[in-house]
């Protein structure tokens, strides 16, 4: 680990902070206004970052700490913020995320919110997650917030009513894909979070205080009644987690529902690539008893047909991939499937589990790629200069490295700040894999064409 040796500063971070992930998850709850308990800047920076990617209004309130709140605690600011959010937005839910500042001074947000609710019983429901930015990354904050939401609201009423789906940090397009799949399976489901509309909606004739869409409170309550939960990923909030009386809990929403209400938790890899998507559909068919709809049989067929059409453009090419740990795991698996040689996997994540998860995917047969966890972009740049990749796959912030190396960057994940349409990138399912595959293939084809002396238009 870095800390043991002479410390090198993080240079061009390949991660964002914990509360950003929490706010993203909260944006997927219906009628919810996120509240960041800390300084004004945290909420504004996170808003700006998310707006630049999603190109939608992203209202996040702040309790706006002052010198006084830092010394005497943020109770008054928290209560004032909650009161003003209610006056302005009249939300169904206020979802709080803590910050490095509020956690360092030991503020008890749970207590503050309970006090408010005791004084004003008509106040909306509260959710809170411990998300100090000195712990974990935005990916941890995302999963922590989902777990916190379920912990706050889930209640057993009936049983076996539906399937819970807990996605990774997906795009709105990915979430819509999951919803379509469930509809085509004619199966009841609760998808949490669901920001497919709130962060990728249509235009409005009149400004909406809170965008339509999101998982409703009623639906979240019923997550305790599910027949099973499917969660996508392997890392989740391993480097984050809430602190409670029993110490640090790193439970996910699905694992909480399993231990508390006996809802079986099924953990699947992200459905990227043929094999991982097959596994998703197989599991879904097993759980629901519904045969895989013909539509997906055909979609799978088209994907494999595309693989055949494009295989030779990518085989043996060397790729550098970077981003959240669960994202790079899924991309690595997919690249193996199409014969791309992943030479470097980098993530700002610090779960400590990335290498062992990658090792599982090599199945003892493949050479382990170079892995950097807790990475920053200057490390990625330095290694990339040495390793000389043919392509980079990741979000916008790696652009400067691809530019220096004069290789294509295929943009995926979050944030996409230098192109339109980041919110509508599809990564998952057979369809998302096809999109991804074609982008990679075409990146090579374009590179060849651009560097061709004759400028052919037929190949």
């Amino acid at each position: 680990m870095k800390e043991e040796k002479e410390y090198i500063a993080t240079r061009n971070a390949c991660k964002l902070c914990n509360p950003l992930g929490a706010c993203l998850a909260y944006k997927g709850i219906k009628g919810c206004v996120p509240l960041i308990h800390g300084s004004q800047g945290c909420s504004t920076y996170i808003r700006r970052y998310m707006i630049s990617h999603f190109r939608e209004p992203v209202d996040i309130a702040s309790s706006n700490f002052t010198e006084e709140s830092t010394i005497f605690g943020g109770r008054q600011n928290c209560h004032q913020a909650v009161g003003n959010i209610i006056k302005q937005y009249n939300p169904e839910i206020i979802a709080a995320a803590t910050t490095c500042l509020s956690e360092t001074i030991g503020d008890d947000i749970e207590k503050y919110l309970k006090e408010y609710k005791a004084e004003f019983p008509d106040a909306p429901d509260f959710i809170y997650a411990n998300t100090p930015s000195y712990q974990g990354t935005h990916a941890d904050g995302f999963h922590e917030a989902v777990a916190a939401t379920v912990r706050s609201l889930a209640k057993r009423t009936k049983k076996n009513t539906h399937i819970n789906l807990f996605p990774g940090m997906y795009s709105p397009a990915d979430l819509r894909y999951l919803k379509r799949v469930m509809d085509n399976y004619k199966t009841n489901y609760v998808l949490l979070p669901d920001y497919s509309e709130t962060l990728d909606g249509s235009s409005w004739s009149e400004y909406k205080k809170i965008p339509d869409g999101g998982t409703s409170k009623e639906a979240i309550i019923t997550t305790a009644d599910a027949q099973a939960s499917i969660e996508f990923g392997a890392i989740f909030n391993k480097a984050g987690g809430s602190t409670n009386k029993n110490g640090r809990s790193k439970e996910t929403a699905a694992s909480y529902l399993e231990t508390t209400f006996g809802v079986p938790a099924l953990r699947l890899p992200w459905p990227v690539g043929v094999e991982a998507t097959d596994l998703f559909f197989k599991t879904l068919s097993e759980v629901t008893g519904v045969e895989k709809p013909d539509e997906y049989v055909k979609e799978r067929g088209r994907l494999i047909d595309a693989y055949a059409d494009g295989h030779k453009y990518v085989f043996g090419k060397k790729a550098v991939i970077y981003g959240e740990e669960d994202l790079v795991l899924s991309i690595y698996r997919f690249l193996n499937e199409i014969g791309v040689d992943t030479i470097l996997i980098a993530s700002g994540g610090k779960s400590g589990a990335l290498a062992s998860e990658i090792e599982k995917l090599t199945m003892g047969e493949m050479k382990m790629p170079e892995i950097i966890d807790n990475a920053d972009f200057e490390e990625i740049a330095a290694r990339s200069r040495e390793l000389k990749p043919d392509i980079m796959i990741g979000h916008s912030k790696g652009y400067y490295i691809a530019r220096e190396l004069n290789i294509p960057l295929v943009r995926i994940g979050f944030p996409i700040h230098d192109r339109l349409g980041g919110q509508r990138l599809l990564h998952i399912g057979y369809e998302g894999t096809n999109d991804l595959f074609e982008k990679i293939v075409n990146a090579f084809i374009e590179k060849n064409q651009e560097s061709s002396e004759v400028g052919y238009k037929y190949m």
């Binding site: 002479e6 500063a9 061009n12 004004q40 002052t66 302005q88 000195y134 712990q135």
Partner: protein
């Protein structure tokens, strides 16, 4: 007083211009829960010092503050690009318990060795003081060991508003000014304060002044260099744009070195021309004035006819303005008027009483004037007044687009020069291209 539903704490910060005039509250800490468009103290310091291209900018704290400010300003450098790298001590849980001084020290030593900067700025973020780090002491120690000036910027996010961050940045700059002694030979020497060379704007301005025969000693901080700033006290005049951010430095340089300052703005024909005349008047030089007049004549001679197309197309359109600094808002009202656009909403994050008084004088009756606003207020005012175009930053953009009105980005990440004469054409084109786009017919009935 405005009548729509505004948070009680904010009522005095929103005003409708009337014949009698009124007073607007400003300079206050943002209201908790209001969803202010402002960032924090750190943000104020960071944006001001960011363009200094040969300095190391190290952000001491957990990773977020550094991540969100990596390469975000469109501030160009003609040489080094060190300012575009983001450095963070990336404090973790262990550091919060045991302190981050060691990490800060080691980071600085290693970064200075690697990047050989002319100086280093160390930004304190929220928890640094709370966990007991003595940032100043570490800076001093590193400075003594490396011989490189290391300046602490006390910018804990909670310790005031964005404006206090400007002050903290000015404090750091103040420590630099006067530490070099090279004198420029020019007869007429100025410093440009508060232009950040977005999309190369400073280079355009510098071109105008050079044409007049005026030399620029230091630009603080657009395309900024540590050594130039060290010599800034040798100039005869400080021109201060973005007065909110740089006024503290201008005042202290006046006190310490007797350098007078003039407030200027480079947006729009009127203000740009005035910024040239102001310099000629200051030096009481007929020669300068003549050159300034010639320059303005020449520029306007080509500009005005070119603007005609836009004025015709935009006549009668209405605009909403919400920007960081009020000086920009004031210039924008005038610039918009020049192309036939009436301002119906105008506000800023950090305006002062003088700025708002001037805005009231400048605007038509019925115009909303607002300080430290939020998305709900802005969207309400924009809809109520029927604005056709919104001029703001990234956070205002979706407000405009969602309800189907044009938008012009006038924030610090922009890649289009909007200052000077050339900038006026760009601005007109940008407003025109957005306000008159045919796509709005699908949204606005």
């Amino acid at each position: 007083m405005a009548t729509f539903n505004i948070l009680e704490e904010r009522r005095k910060q929103v005003l409708t211009k009337t014949a009698e005039g009124g007073e607007i509250a400003c300079g206050k800490q943002s209201t908790a829960g209001s969803v202010s468009q402002r960032a924090c103290v750190f943000c104020g310091s960071r944006v001001v010092l960011y363009p200094i291209a040969d300095a190391l900018h190290l952000i001491h704290g957990p990773v977020g503050c550094a991540a969100y400010t990596w390469d975000i300003r469109g501030s160009l450098s003609s040489g080094p690009q060190l300012h575009r790298l983001s450095f963070s001590t990336d404090l973790n849980e262990k550091d919060v318990v045991f302190g981050g001084e060691k990490k800060l020290y080691q980071s600085l030593i290693k970064l200075i060795e690697t990047y050989q900067p002319k100086a280093a700025f160390v930004y304190s973020t929220c928890i640094v003081g709370v966990i007991g780090d003595d940032v100043k002491a570490v800076c001093k120690k590193v400075e003594a060991e490396t011989g490189i000036t290391v300046l602490p910027v006390m910018s804990e996010g909670f310790s005031g508003t964005k404006k206090d961050g400007y002050k903290a940045a000015c404090d750091a700059l103040e420590a630099l000014v006067g530490t070099g002694n090279e004198r420029r030979n020019g007869k007429y020497t100025i410093n440009i304060l508060g232009d950040f060379n977005l999309a190369g704007e400073l280079w355009m301005l510098a071109g105008y002044y050079r044409k007049m025969g005026v030399d620029i000693v230091a630009s603080i901080t657009g395309d900024g260099r540590i050594d130039e700033i060290r010599h800034a006290h040798t100039a005869s005049l400080n021109l201060v744009q973005c007065s909110g951010s740089m006024m503290n430095l201008a005042k202290s340089m006046k006190e310490k070195y007797g350098i007078p300052f003039k407030k200027v703005s480079y947006f729009g024909i009127e203000d740009m021309s005035e910024a040239l005349y102001e310099v000629a008047r200051f030096f009481e030089s007929d020669e300068l004035m003549e050159k300034a007049r010639a320059l303005v004549r020449e520029e306007i001679g080509t500009l005005l006819p070119a603007l005609e197309k836009y004025r015709k197309a935009l006549k009668g359109k209405k605009a909403a303005i919400y920007v960081g600094g009020a000086f920009k808002a004031i210039s924008l009202v005038k610039a918009l008027r020049l192309i036939g656009v009436q301002t119906v909403v105008v506000g800023s994050q950090t305006g002062g009483p003088d700025d708002y008084a001037l805005l009231q004088k400048l605007c038509d009756e019925g115009t909303y004037i607002v300080d430290d606003s939020n998305p709900l207020e802005l969207s309400h005012m924009v809809q109520e007044t029927g604005a056709d175009i919104f001029i703001g930053g990234v956070k205002e953009r979706p407000i405009a687009y969602k309800i189907g009105i044009g938008f012009c980005d006038h924030n610090h990440e922009r890649k289009l020069a909007l200052a000077g004469y050339e900038g006026m054409i760009n601005f007109a084109e940008e407003v025109y291209a957005s306000a008159l786009s045919p796509v709005w017919k699908f949204i606005r009935k």
